[in-house]
Symmetry: none
Amino acid sequence: MKVLIADDDAELRALIAFTLGQAGYLVIKASDGHAAVRLFEAEAPDLVVLDINMPGLSGFQVCEAIRARSRVPVMMLTVRGEEEDLVRALGLGADDYLTKPFSPRTLLARLRALLRRAGMESSPPLAVGRLTLDLAEHTVRIGAAETVRLTKLELRLLQMLLANAGHTVSSERLLMQVWGHRSGGDRQLLKQLVHRLRQKIEADPAAPALLQTAAAGYKLVVD
Amino acid sequence: MKVLIADDDAELRALIAFTLGQAGYLVIKASDGHAAVRLFEAEAPDLVVLDINMPGLSGFQVCEAIRARSRVPVMMLTVRGEEEDLVRALGLGADDYLTKPFSPRTLLARLRALLRRAGMESSPPLAVGRLTLDLAEHTVRIGAAETVRLTKLELRLLQMLLANAGHTVSSERLLMQVWGHRSGGDRQLLKQLVHRLRQKIEADPAAPALLQTAAAGYKLVVD
DNA sequence: CAGCTGCGTAACCGGTTTGTCACCGCCCTG
DNA sequence: CAGGGCGGTGACAAACCGGTTACGCAGCTG
């Protein structure tokens, strides 16, 4: 699931990106309206989060440009009390909005509600490097090879790693994201799950090329 | 267009009723949760506006009761800063919410956006591939074969699958769309319904050609 | 009232998935 | 060099999942 974030406030952008990244979304960032439109066309995100006040094109203009060619869900960010903005944004085809300041949790809840409404079926499989992950079908394809069926947990694990492709993800975080809670002791589970996943996706499971062990965690290596 | 408003604040209720009345909606009012549920059943409104804090049943409980039997759009009203409430409301199946205080204009804009969205979804193609679904008659025809009578639930299930023909629809989503239930243990129901539907529409129910099991859900296969 | 239909519930079966345990080899350190 | 920590591996049992059969209950209808 690819999300485009457009906001000129670098700090807020980073916060949102971090939150969504944690939740398993792939995040693309833009710091002004022109970049947002460009990235939208280049990356075809599944959801767009737009600040209204931006240098260059305003959020309104970006929203309009997006709506001219796509019905992708758009969430607008506004400052409190600018009611005119809301009416205008919704009129332009935005699907929802958030008033700053907001908490990450609220953002996530609203965003999920939006995606649920939009029908997640339309989400194209997310691809990074040679890996193509199809969330709906629970499958991966590696390069041009056969597609492989994954179980629920394997899918979640791979999704997390893919969302942070190239970077190490700590065991603790994986444990948290895949199983939801659980205290420290359960390294064994992760060990097993990684093992099972490697059996499925690695050409030579004994010498992992994709899912590599890193200090205190694992990382996905893509070209 | 009939709208049910449930709020214990008489003044706010009147304001909303006036606003919506002006805008051409037919308004029904309830001052507590029990009345809301009763009126909902008696009047079958097209949209519901629910305050969370009400004597008798809370907005949550009313929302739950409504979702148990209908997919009508629900908008919740909350007081500012009760973030827990928002998350919970959206989790219960509410479609949108407003934070008090809000202006009539905002309410109207959000409400229209909601109806627009709900309205969009009411245009599923009736015929896809070899399948022809007749919503009014509660029947399907497969290819040139006999038409088959479907029950209400079977029809809804098939309608959902048809709307996403060729793509997997998750069990959770189906559960939600067909019964209105919040996701939970009720996989049994879906299992049964799928079984019964297969008996009716599959040439060989033991080897489904149309309604296939997919990872974490089902999909309709059309040529 | 008897029978039918629609639908929720329970129980069972076989296959898959997941959790657990035991053991291995490697590296690090005392 | 012995021992402990850590990741990888294989084996096995428990839990889960989808399909199926069976039953119960409510509402309708002749």
